[in-house]
Structures are given as C-alpha cells and as structure tokens.
Amino acid sequence: MSEPIRLKTPLSDPEVEKLRAGDRVLISGIIYTGRDAAHKRLFTLLKEGKDLPFDIQGQIIYYVGPTPAKPGQALGSAGPTTSYRMDAYSPTLMERGLRGMIGKGMRSDTVKEAMKKYKAVYFAATGGAGALLAKRVKKAEVLAYEDLGPEAIRKLEVEDLPVIVVNDVRGNDLYVEGEKKYKKE
C-alpha cells in the first residue's frame, strides 16, 4: 500500500481536488465535531440566516460523540458514528464552505452530488477504533451546545488522525468499488 498523504486544516481547493477514493490520509490541525443534534442546530441557524458558531470555510467536521475524558486524556474514546443520519444537512454546510467530513458508512446520492458540486470529500475513520483514534487528539474544547453533552460541538486539535478517502470530488466511491472488487458471484 502507498504511503499516507499528510494534510493540514483548513483545506485548500487544490488539496481537496487532488484526493482520490482509496487514499490513506493523516489529518493534522483543527477539526470540529458534530453529530445528529448539532447538525440540526447548525442547519436551523443557516435557514434563519444566522451565523454558524465557527468559520466553516475549508474545515472538516468529524461525526463523533466521544466518551467523557478520563483524567490525563484530552478526549475520551472517539471513533466515528454512522454518517447517513447527517445526509439531510451536509449539502447546505458544503455550500457554506465545508470541505471535509469524517464518519463511517455510505452517503446518499444527494450528498455525493453536493461533494462534486462544492468540491468536498468524505473520509472514513475506522468505526469502533475509538481508543486508538483518541490518542491522536491533542486538545479538545467545547465550542458550542454544551447542553448536548456528547453531541456538543467540540474544537479538536488532532495530529495524524488516520482516515481513508471514500468519496472524492470526481464522484468515485470506495464503498462501491471495494465491494465490487471482492464480490464473488
């Protein structure tokens, strides 16, 4: 397997466009967490014409609801949650500048089309590898919606967070291609 690509946030358009489904990527810098309830709130803000609690241009949202941090940990276990539940909200966020999403599981055709249109990528992190992924989080702070507990939006500083490109800006889909490659009739 080829060496992983190193990326630092925020992502530029050329960096995003270069990525291909199947690429292994190590992400460093600031990323934001958000899952079901936080997405609903972000979406509502935009519908009401209000500002988001952070500048989304070139940013990555990680679909995760971590466990509470133990003393000495920046963040508790932090693997991805299933992404399709965010599908209804993602195109609007991409339209506003979101360039990357980290989660697990298939996205809808509407989301895949939006990734092509707005130049964004979808990364998969290993679902269930929460203890391992947490070690790549160096700092974490709640940025918004503390009342949502594990679902609050957190600003994370990550170092070499390992992910795989599933959907790229050209419409490739590793879930579809991978399954086709290993399917036996």
Binding site: P68, K70, Q73, M106, A131, L132, G149, P150, P162, I164
Partner: protein, 279 residues
C-alpha cells in the same frame, strides 16, 4: 431459600458495565486473527490490525473500546430459591448502570425519543429476566451500540418461505447494511416464537462465544452456509471491500405458531461486548 442483598447486584452491574466496555473478549480477538489469515484486501488486513491494537489500548488504559458504549442490556437469570432483600431489583440494576457509566467514563447515550434530551445517566437499562431453578443469580451485561442496532430487523415470513427464505432475508439484510454497522459484524438470528420473542432470540444468540459450534447440527450447518454467502458479498472490514464482512452467524430457534414464521436479524458490530458474573 438464599438471601441476596440487591446492593451486591448494584456493585456487580457497575463493575460489569466498565469491564464489558473496556475489555474485548478473547474470542473476538481470536476471530480477528482467523479473519486476517483469510482476508485478501490489504486495506482490510490493516483495519483488522487496527481493531486489535484498539482493543489492546482499551484494555491497558481502561478506556472504552468504542465511544458508543451502548444501551446497557442486562440478561438476568434469577434462581427461584433466591430471596432478594434491601430494595427493588430494577432500581438496583439501574443504580449499577448509573455508577458504572459515571465511574468508567462511559458515554451516556440514552435520550427521549421525541425531544432527544439525554437522560444523563445511561438509564433506563433493558432488563431481560428469566426465572431458573436453583439459588444463584447470573448477570450478563451486554452494551449494545446504536449503529449496528439500527441495521437490525424483525420480519414475519410465511411458512412457505422455508429455510431458503431465511437465508435470503439474512444475507440481503447484511448486504443492505453495507458499511453502516461497522463490519466485520456478528449476525444474530432468531427464528420462531412470536414477534418479540424472535427479536430476543436474535439478541441472545450474540452471547455465544465466537468460534463455538451451535449445539444443533442442523442450525450449525445453516450458520456456516449463511456466513459463507455473506462473506462472498465483498463488503469487507469497514465496508471498504474484502472477504471479512461477518465474523460469525449465530442462530437460536424455537417453535412458532402454525400460521407464522418469525425471523429476527440482530446485527452486532465487531465490538461484541458482554461480561457475566454469578452471585
């Protein structure tokens, strides 16, 4: 008649919640090893290695294997010669869950269905109680994650669908679930009983250790046949392509009504967590 104070049950449930969420069973780790030998996808092998490494970190540092520390599902086998004293059983179990999820730094994932407001302490727990002969109490804590539970289904087949109907539905369910339930999965299958009993059989089948044989030779054969079909789908570890879509298929069956043919498919992610103790 033996007296058991429910305080003991609280303590045991507390400890089991923490243990189940941080210490993945040896049977699962061995299943990863067997899968690695058969896996053809290089990326799939990498993922299986990552899962083993994740389990090692979780056990050594006593942190959650997965951030989804689940709904606390409790299987209780209560000896009929046990007299519980010192308070209510249900509340004692809930208190154990409350303490375990608090002290173990586990995520509280239970909320109101409409408002989505979190209950804050991971209660209520789901309790399945069986009254059995004897004067012992067996407690199994099996935290169940939401991602794989969402991919589960109950269906009322018609008797004419037969064994082929079961195979078709189970394989199709795994296929449609794709990467969502964190493959490699364990597929719990409940056949027979009533609508709700089929679902419970499916869930209970997941408690059997991986790598063990089904005591019923006919079901054992059916498990192998379904697993073989599933692992030809190509979904693979994390759905990124490969041979290892499921680690095992487990079946529990009981008689059903002459008009019915209930089938439940309970999908379990690779973090197959359950711990038990006997009081």
């Amino acid at each position: 008649m033996r007296e058991v104070n429910v305080k003991v049950i609280t303590e045991k449930v507390r400890a089991l919640c923490m243990e189940a969420n941080t210490d993945l069973g040896e049977d699962v780790l061995h299943a990863f090893d067997r899968a690695m030998e058969k896996e053809e996808s290089p990326l799939g092998i990498e993922i299986l290695k990552e899962l083993k490494e994740n389990a090692r970190i979780a056990k050594e540092e006593r942190v959650a294997i997965c951030q989804d520390t689940g709904f606390a599902v409790i299987f209780l086998e209560l000896g009929q010669d046990v007299h519980l004293v010192g308070g209510g059983l249900r509340e004692a179990i809930f208190e154990g869950v409350r303490q375990g999820y608090r002290d173990g730094y586990l995520r509280k994932s239970i909320c109101h269905p409409f408002t989505r407001a979190n209950t804050g302490d991971n209660t209520p727990a789901i309790i399945h109680t069986e009254i059995v002969p004897g004067e012992k109490v067996k407690i199994t804590v099996a935290p169940k994650g939401g991602g794989s539970e969402n991919m589960s289904r109950v269906v009322m087949l018609t008797p004419s669908d037969g064994v082929e109907g079961i195979k078709r539905f189970v394989v199709q369910r795994v296929k449609e679930s794709g990467s969502n339930p964190c493959p490699p999965t364990i597929v719990g299958v409940g056949i027979g009983g009533t609508f709700e009993q089929a679902a419970l059989l499916g869930k209970k089948s997941l408690l059997r250790p991986l790598g063990s044989k089904n005591p019923d030779p006919e079901l054992d054969k059916l498990e192998s046949e379904i697993l073989n079909e599933i692992n030809q789908l190509g979904i693979g570890p994390q759905g990124l392509g490969g041979r290892t879509t499921s680690l095992a298929v487990h079946i529990l069956m009981m008689p059903c009504h002459i008009a019915s043919f209930p089938l439940a498919v309970n999908i379990q992610c690779h973090a197959q967590r359950h711990k038990e103790t006997i009081i």
